[in-house]
């Protein structure tokens, strides 16, 4: 490999300094790559052993924000272009600055603030690499808000739309949870967001900051298998996936390290010494209307609720309960001033709850803070007309 056993890491913020090289020996510290261009915003290694930096200073033009520059083949410190060297550079033509990129299934992939470009290996003796624009409506929002999963590129654009590229034209993936995630992100904090996949579940996690602390505290999660969105809420400063049976790793905003998805229900073993931590979860249904002829004129009674669920508890958490809240509204909308609420708890197996709420529409809420995996099955509700004898 071009870098042998070494790793290149860079500082950010358009700083006037080169990236750093570390030889993967914990006894050694990382050292600045003398001679490498400054101000890179990203980088990767091509399969033909070129170290490529994105958005760095050009040899003659200085910093333009659009420079793609690579070192002599098989080296990390030989950047001067010469007849005897394969080092070189070019400027992208679309956009005003490179935001990020990496080597993906689409070869070199570079996002600017307005476009998506591809860098193709030529393996010739003259140009070495060739840029081409894949899309001009596909700017990247922030350096880490993209990932590759399932043969596609995923990223968050400046318009707060998640896009997917599988060849052809990038597609917008409509988001149903934007109001609780992206829409609360400020321009000041959007650069702290990041995106990664959870390959074991076929998901894309898009982290964003929604609080005044401007730290990532929740992720909009898109399931590429179920084609639907959910929300993950954890205060995580950074997170990454590990492929195969290995679980994702994360750093909390307090600096502590966690392993996620240490679950039982997905067939990965959880040993007692795994010592899972409790985490909160919550699920609320939309309104359920009572099956009466004219909803406006008749009320219904929710008299029984049958919830089919399966729980697999971590050791010591077998007695965990699920809080169930059933709320009835006296109209077909959530008019909070005119409601009745009934509380119950669900334990380990299929549960029947008897109650009596007379209203026009109903909603269900499930929540807990536990170390238990819960899978919900079918939900049956016994609803009858008011004053019915049956």
């Amino acid at each position: 490999m071009v870098l042998g056993n070494s790793i290149v890491v860079g500082r950010g913020g358009n700083l006037d300094e080169p990236p750093f090289l570390w030889d993967r020996n914990p006894a050694h510290v990382a050292t600045a790559l003398t001679g490498a261009p400054h101000r890179a915003v990203g980088g990767f290694k091509s399969p033909n052993n070129h170290l490529i930096l994105l958005g760095c200073e050009d040899e003659s033009l200085g910093w333009t924000g659009l420079t793609v520059r690579w070192a002599n083949q098989g080296t990390v410190d030989s950047w001067a272009s010469a007849v005897t060297s394969t080092a070189g550079a070019f400027e992208l033509s679309a956009g005003s600055r490179i935001v990020g990129g990496g080597w993906t299934g689409f070869q070199g992939t570079v996002f600017t603030d307005t476009s998506l470009s591809q860098i193709t290996e030529l393996n010739d003796t003259e140009f070495f690499f060739r840029p081409s624009t894949l899309s001009n409506e596909a700017g990247l929002c922030a350096a880490k808000l993209w990932c590759e999963n399932n043969g596609a590129l995923w990223w968050l654009g400046h318009d707060m739309q998640v896009r997917r590229y599988r060849g052809g034209t990038p597609e917008v993936v409509p988001c149903t949870v934007g109001r609780e995630t992206f829409d609360q992100t400020s321009r000041e904090s959007v650069h702290r967001g990041f995106m990664h996949s959870i390959a074991a579940h076929g998901e894309i996690w898009v982290w964003c900051s929604t609080g005044s602390a401007q730290l990532p505290d929740r992720a909009a999660v898109y399931s590429d298998r179920e084609q639907c969105w959910t929300i993950a809420k954890y205060p995580r400063a950074a997170m990454c996936d590990r492929s195969g049976p290995l679980r994702p790793l994360a750093v909390g905003e307090d600096g502590r390290l966690y392993e996620h998805e240490a679950s039982i229900i997905d067939d990965s073993p959880s040993y007692p010494n795994d010592a899972p931590l409790a985490r909160p979860w919550y699920l609320r249904s939309a309104l359920v209307l009572s099956p009466v002829d004219t909803i406006e004129n008749q009320t219904g009674y929710l008299v029984r609720l049958l919830v089919d669920l399966e729980r697999v508890a971590a050791p010591g958490d077998e007695a965990a309960l699920i809080d169930l809240t059933m709320t009835g509204y006296d109209w077909t909308m959530r008019n909070l001033g005119r409601k009745k609420t009934s509380l119950a708890t669900l334990s380990s197996e299929t549960e029947v709850t008897d109650l009596r709420i007379g209203m026009r529409s109903f909603e269900l809420e499930f929540s807990a803070e536990d170390k238990t995996e819960t899978r919900f099955g079918e939900i049956h509700a016994g609803v009858k007309k008011s004053d019915s004898e049956r």
Binding site: V2, N5, I7, V9, G10, R11, L15, E17, R24, P26, H28, V29, V41, G43, F44, K45, P47, L53, G100, W103, A143, K144, C147, H201, L215, V221, E226, C228, T230, I231, A232, Y234, A237, A238, C240, L246, A250, V251, G255, L257, Y258, H260, E261, A262, I265, L277, R279, W281, Y282, L283, R284, A286, V288, L289, T374, R375, F376, G377, A381, G382
Partner: protein, 136 residues
């Protein structure tokens, strides 16, 4: 009656004739159309059983975690605003304890040194030797 909820979270009630939906929630994923709780987690610990972590008060918030696999064992890079650490599985791990980790500062120097690190858009290309170059 059977409540057939549609998978996924939806912003709001969209119409009387629409089927029931799950409206809001968190730490729930959908598998085969059914809700399943997500995200059981655990702490990464050192040999003594203490959760490992980096100092955010001295070196700023973490902004990168990247797994770099190699034949002799994985290395996990943790980049902070002003520091770079590597976490490795400890050789003192046992079947009883599970994997325990050691955390090493590889930025070197004191705070303010030129070798302070702010690791960048990591997690891409880790298999190829280059982890990251650029801003976080």
């Amino acid at each position: 009656m059977k409540l057939e909820f549609q998978a996924g979270l939806w912003p709001d009630w969209t119409g009387v004739s629409d089927p029931p939906r799950y409206k809001t929630g968190y730490n729930i994923r959908f598998m085969f159309g059914r809700p399943v709780t997500m995200g059981i987690l655990r702490a990464l610990k050192d040999v003594g059983g203490t959760q490992i972590g980096v100092d955010v008060n001295l070196y700023g918030r973490p902004n990168m975690i990247a797994v770099c696999s190699r034949g002799s064992g994985a290395q996990v890079l943790i980049g902070q605003l002003n520091k770079l650490y590597v976490a490795e599985p400890s050789v003192d791990s046992t079947l009883i304890t599970g994997t325990r980790w050691t955390l090493t500062d590889i930025a070197g120097g004191a705070d303010g040194d030129q070798r302070r690190h702010r690791a960048g858009p990591g997690a891409h290309g880790g298999q190829q030797g280059v982890v990251a170059c650029g801003p976080g």
